[in-house]
Point group: C2
Chain length 340, copies 2
DNA sequence: TTGAAAGCGTTACCAC
DNA sequence: GTGGTAACGCTTTCAA
């Protein structure tokens, strides 16, 4: 493999000149720049990342801590991962995977060994164990998810409260007076991933303002549980029923149960599921969906951390960013009650 | 951050001794080892990855090239990614994400800059554009998927032929004389991802041997297409119908169409879907599944590349490994024809 | 506008 | 069994 020394010799300049041509941190005459670029081309030179990191104290790598919870709708996790990796490249950074299995020690490891310059944590819980470690780490960290106490942390997430609000408002506008929310799965609720609470706050607030009744019912991947929830909802509903199922893993099940009860979404029952545009296209049945904007959240997370890295931020930055959610009606699946 | 020099001073030994204590490449007396370990502990020393890579010419990082095809069942991609990352850690390596968007230049980049020591490519197509580059790369590469010409390459994949064979055999044993295979989605088929062909070879071979008829029908995420396929299958089927739907994205749709035709899997129609044990648990409806072993394929891919890295393999290695697939019957969902 | 040289923190070879 | 020291390939300061 050619080194910058080789390039320097080939171009008849000093090694430092090669470095400056590449970094642009110093004005270079057109003539020598041409020579150097030609030599680089010629030798297919690529700078050695290790040496560069050693000398510059920057790896241009961001650690991404991914959750592995089978219950957690892996498709949407993958969407985050994928967009994060792509966005990072656009900012001339790479993504190193850190699995949640490694826990807090894993964070200390990648930062301590200076494998990466900063971290993005996905699926941050309300009372995340890793927060103390994160605060003690002397590198920029961006959290996806809002912990109970975000003091001194940089957080970003979809605006779940807005999402809950929008769902109820749209259903109310379609004439429903009772709206049933199928909860996230128990595994998620138990973890106190606090977007659940935020979503519910949104639904309840809107319900209060609009005089609509909101029922909260258990979700999960167990058909019987969903069936039970649906039946309870139907029993308590006057007029045509409406469901909100923000958890991706619940939606199929819900539709199946509804259909077994003789109800067709968009005809005699309104259903709002959640789906990003990407995943929504794969949904075979048109549905009204609430887009929790995973792609936008991902992009912003990367952008923020890259800014922090540029700034070489030492001061304890702190911020909390909520990405607006969007409801999309694909076909007309929200129908007013039959008699209306 | 403390360096090995600091540790050496604290322990009263030479810097090289610290290095040898850590690497174990040289016998160390119990006494000095203790001293060094104490100092490391004391200073919470962690070796600098860049410096280490520079000196040892090994990064202990493996590049993982992930596909981003929304059609491609992101949940299963995520399963690969997750298992690969975990397994890599068990072998003391990290995973760097390389997105498919970067294409062949991306491969050259991460290898050229020596960001990683080797590569794993997912979703390798029959006639993958990246193969020439892969062959020219002077680092170990493991392909997940079998290209048309695997000469000089190290490949691993599930044994799709075996899978096709097993599916047909099990359905034949359950008394079906006509078996309908719902194809992968056109996007996949068009890409000549040749596991499709291999699967079909398996079904057809078994069909020939057992005197069973196999129908191949279009798949996809379009409900009408699936409905059409199902109707065609039903029209051509004598006795009770049987379906094989190896594509994860097709399965829900298939079940929905079947139910709209008044058919219940496990009662009046046999259905074999594909699912790893992890994902199968999330399937709300018990189904007979063919496990294409993504986790096992992932683990082996990592193991292989780590072996190649250890061996510091220069010679053009070559191998092709097929991981056996497994059919699992969850509840009794394969039923012989009613009259049988 | 350019060059020379001193690090950056390891590893690994050569002595002892 | 241990210490000294020369790389490893880059960035950046200091001089010119």
């Amino acid at each position: 493999m050619p080194t910058s020394k080789d390039v320097a010799e080939a171009a008849g300049v000093a090694q430092s000149t090669v470095s400056y041509v590449l970094s642009g941190k110093r004005p270079i005459s057109e003539k020598t720049r041409k020579k150097v670029e030609a030599a680089i081309e010629q030798l297919t030179y690529q700078p050695n990342a290790g040496a560069r990191a050693l000398a510059s104290r920057k790896t241009r790598v961001i650690g991404l801590v991914i959750p592995f919870i089978p219950e957690l709708h892996m498709a949407s996790i993958m969407e985050f991962v994928s967009v994060i990796a792509n966005t990072a490249r656009q900012h001339d950074h790479d993504i190193l995977l850190v699995t949640e299995d490694e826990g807090a020690p894993g964070l200390r490891r990648v930062v301590g060994q200076q494998i990466c310059d900063g971290l993005i944590l996905m699926q941050v819980e309300g009372n995340d164990e890793r927060l103390p470690v994160v605060r003690s780490l002397n590198v920029p960290v961006v959290l996806i998810g809002i912990p109970r106490d975000p003091t001194g942390l940089v957080c970003i997430d979809a605006d779940f409260e807005m999402a809950g609000d929008q769902c109820v408002r749209d259903l109310a506008a379609a004439g429903h007076s009772v709206v049933s929310v199928i909860d996230w799965q128990p595994e998620v609720v138990d973890r106190h991933v606090n977007y659940v609470d935020r979503f519910m706050r949104g639904t309840d607030k809107a319900a209060g303002e609009l005089g609509v009744t909101v029922l909260h019912l258990p979700g999960g991947t167990d058909r019987d549980v969903i069936a039970d929830s649906v039946d309870k909802a139907l029993a308590k509903t006057t007029g045509s029923p409406a469901f909100i199922a923000p958890d991706g893993t619940v939606q199929d099940l819900l539709r199946r149960v509804l259909s077994s009860r003789g109800l067709t979404p968009g005809v005699d029952v309104s259903v709002i599921g959640s789906a990003s545009p990407t995943l929504a296209d794969l949904q075979p049945i048109p549905l009204t969906t609430i887009d929790l904007r995973p792609a936008e959240v991902s992009r912003r997370a990367v952008k923020i951390i890259c800014q922090l890295l540029e700034a070489d931020s030492q001061g304890p930055h702190e911020s909390l960013e909520l990405v607006p959610t969007v409801i999309t009606h694909r076909s007309s699946t929200l129908r007013p009650p039959r008699g209306a």
